[in-house]
Assembly symmetry: C2
Amino acid sequence: MTQRTDPYRDRYAARTAGMTGSEIRALFEVLDRPEVISLAGGNTYTDIVAERVVECVAEALSHVGERDDPLQYGKGGGLLPLREHLVDLMATEDVEADPHHIVITDGAQQALHLLAEIFIDPGDIVLTEAPTYVGALDAFASFQADVRGIAMDDDGITPDGLERALVALRDEGRRAKFLYLVPTFQNPSGVTLHPDRREPIVDICRREDLLIVEDNPYAQVRFEGDAVTPMRTIAPDQVIYVGTLSKVFSPGIRIGWVLAPEPVRDRLVLAKEAANLCSSPFTQRVAEAYLSSPHLQADLELVRKTYHDRRDAMLDALHAHFPPAARPRVPGGGLFLWVRLPEPLDTKAMLARALEAGVAYVPGTAFFPVKRDGRRCIRLNFSYPSIEDIEEGMRRLGAVVSDELDLARHLDA
Amino acid sequence: MTQRTDPYRDRYAARTAGMTGSEIRALFEVLDRPEVISLAGGNTYTDIVAERVVECVAEALSHVGERDDPLQYGKGGGLLPLREHLVDLMATEDVEADPHHIVITDGAQQALHLLAEIFIDPGDIVLTEAPTYVGALDAFASFQADVRGIAMDDDGITPDGLERALVALRDEGRRAKFLYLVPTFQNPSGVTLHPDRREPIVDICRREDLLIVEDNPYAQVRFEGDAVTPMRTIAPDQVIYVGTLSKVFSPGIRIGWVLAPEPVRDRLVLAKEAANLCSSPFTQRVAEAYLSSPHLQADLELVRKTYHDRRDAMLDALHAHFPPAARPRVPGGGLFLWVRLPEPLDTKAMLARALEAGVAYVPGTAFFPVKRDGRRCIRLNFSYPSIEDIEEGMRRLGAVVSDELDLARHLDA
């Protein structure tokens, strides 16, 4: 950023003050150095998809010249056959949906941005888990939301914690616009909101007439344990559901969606048309072809197995190379391992040393509405790097952590 | 829209009041009837692209597993090799550019939405041509802009007209955030801002320190006359340039861009990341492959020739089937024919009759910031329909116009 010398700085909208960019993406510049092993991103295992995508593209192009031509403009709400396949996909997660209540978006990120656009006036309150998805914080900040985080334990936020947050708001004479949750294998923490807490939380939201935005990218990449009922299934009218094919298929095709009550969905379509007319009809057709593929379930099984193996490799390497006081939260799915490091480490300050040592991670501070929180924590990605890279990356990072701790003890002594 | 019975209506942000949806896209539902010939959309001739795209996709997929993998997340600013090709493309339009001053967007629509997002506070003034691109009106309305139109003649807005608009603003104690122009083969009017007016308009904007947003989708589809120097070339620091591959390649791949001074470009990247992280790395790679193709120039020649032939067919059919008082504005490029119909026709009221008769157009009112303007005019698309469909569509529409005029005279008598 060249803000200090920016001759245009007096012209920007007030909302740009909140557009500071995520710490993760600032890292990407550094990560372009090939010698750095990245445990920082959110990329996925796409080897199997790369094999399939040639057929999917051929299928997509077979629709050229037809009414829903993949090379022409599409409708704002998205391609109906794709929405129908998403209904089938959600059915495997126990979510019931009508294709007419779906709007296709450019990944879940655009879904969150459109939801913020239609709901958030400057200063409006949004409740989130703390930590939470950094892209959601960016989307909400674009519309000048006042984000309040609710602390989590190993089973997510508590009904009591939600009640306390609501009481605090009431004391301020304020109401929240919605509660944003990533209730299953949350990014960054890996935490799943416990099944026993889901109904009580929905009950509180119903009582308070508080909408829930349920962001559910990781339900399909569970490799341990039983499926948990989505919030949407418990309370269809109270919950706006956000999905994505980024973890199921490929982040590069940029396909996500919102399932919302019809009037909200209609608003989202208008906002979507003003934002970018339509998601690519070409990649929508490619996604439709992938979801129709007879290989889909077997491919997803392979993805799950791959993540399971990689998570285990990461845990093994953590135990081998990190000080014993480093505490991982072991997730049964998703893409990330959240690790709490011992006092007095500051993971943001440590990042430069890690990059020097040839390994990247995301410091915990990136994921908190209040940036001083999470200093002790790091988010590690196990979905993208190979097992060899995980082992070598964790070896490098473990050495940095040990060195930093030794240094701190030395300074203390 | 189910607004009246919408139980969520009290929760929306104030900006949703401006999200009313374009009259064009509301038509699309009706246009799904196969018997209706659409002269309404903005789709393009993609027969030749459909032949090429298979190779382009193969080239794109050859990058799977590389650093800028088309199946993974990309950077907010877009793929560097694509930006480099866009620099070459702009050079053919006499625009000098640095790839680091470009941000890739999802078509020009997202470019306009992001520009509005970073510049427009509620109530801020934007100056536009009247009529203007309906998608721009939607994007600006999303951020509660106060849009003021400047009338055009056959050579675009006049320097005097701009001066008068600025004086009127000064009298209100207001300033405009920017002047939005589609200066070449404007959508919807087909008008090109006369070369002799460009420098004087730039001079006024320089004097007033008023940014120009130059939206230039149609420069590559000129089939008559000499190229006109873009505004950006006259004043690189005063002009933010918006481009798209929708008319050059395919609307369905959703690739556009902004060329902006570096600090503005940096802001746009932050806004882009919050909006949808990145444009599809997959379609960006496909676009890169197309722009690298040895066929590109020959393909563009074929597109131009096709549009030339179709425009001529539309003009011939207009003369054959419409009352002589119907006045087209003949464009030397672009996708649209703008026709002024005789008094007392109301083209918005006439639309239902036209659809019944099996032909669709867009009423002129859609393109004006003040919706009561443009009632006499229609926009007709000649880039997408075949010559046969143009002839039959114009025959149907001419009959509707004649009938409506007869009816009006009868009522008058």
